[in-house]
């Protein structure tokens, strides 16, 4: 059976994108809220 490393890379890459993207989204919300707080 061929090893299909491209698929393995694609899977881990996609997971990294999704988890990383979610982590970045949390960071963005955090920054927006901090900005609102300092405005007050």
């Amino acid at each position: 059976m061929p090893d299909n490393w491209t698929f393995v890379a694609a899977a881990y890459g996609l997971a990294a994108l999704v988890f990383g993207g979610y982590w970045l989204r949390l960071g963005r919300i955090d920054r927006e809220l901090a900005a609102v707080r300092t405005e007050r």
């Binding site: 061929p2 698929f7 997971a15 988890f19 949390l26 809220l33």
Partner: protein, 215 residues
């Protein structure tokens, strides 16, 4: 506390990658593409774990009306959906070289897809309700319905696929799993569970901050 979780998660993920690529051997039947399993399988375990947390938190909210319970439920359901999405996507990527198709209506994939859509609907509902208190109440009821529906989904789909039909060819993770592969799976599960816990904790805190900002 949350930051500590984050660091532990990071460490765990590194350990998971080491186990998945360094320690675990090349699988006999499938070849190296099987390594996707170390990503794919723990993701659904973590997802269902967080949905259970969301279910419990929802009941707690309806019983005691503590906003913290609602924030936990909301965060848990959101994070669970993310992990389930990763599970479905990695499952499709694994399926293409293995089964020759991105998607197949087998029992596991179908039921996970239904659960995914159910909790996507939960997120849509929460997003559509501006009033915090009403959103918490309605969200709690919906997540209870969704969680209790999961066994119904699983049984119905399983019976649909297995009765009057021969079992599907390749079953990922056979019952006689080599010890080292099982260990690698568990390490990755622990890593992803830590990541999930970190996400939930952080998301819940942000929800609290959002409420303060609106107030």
């Amino acid at each position: 506390m949350t930051t500590l979780l984050g660091w532990l998660a990071g460490l765990g993920l590194v350990a998971g990658l080491v186990m998945g690529f360094g320690v675990a051997p090349r699988e006999v039947t499938q070849g190296n593409v099987q390594r996707i399993m170390y990503l794919h399988v723990p993701a659904v375990w973590v997802a269902y774990l967080t949905f259970t947390v969301g279910f419990a938190a929802s009941i707690a909210y309806l019983a005691g009306r503590r906003p913290g319970a609602d924030r936990l439920a909301h965060a848990a359901c959101e994070v669970g959906t993310v992990f389930l999405g990763v599970n479905i996507a990695t499952g499709a990527i694994w399926g293409k070289p293995t089964w020759g198709t991105w998607w197949t209506w087998d029992a596991r994939l179908t039921s996970v897809a239904v659960v995914f859509v159910m909790f996507l609907a939960y997120l849509l509902l929460r997003g559509a309700i501006e009033d915090r208190e009403r959103g918490a109440r309605y969200g709690a009821v919906l997540s209870i319905v969704a969680a209790l529906n999961i066994p119904l989904v699983h049984f119905s789909v399983y019976w649909w696929r297995t009765l009057h039909q021969p079992p599907s060819l390749l079953k990922p993770g056979s019952s006689t799993m080599p010890r080292v592969i099982l260990t690698a799976l568990l390490v990755n599960f622990a890593a992803q569970a830590l990541l999930g816990a970190y996400f939930v904790a952080r998301r819940a805190r942000l929800l609290a901050a959002e409420e303060e900002a609106i107030a």
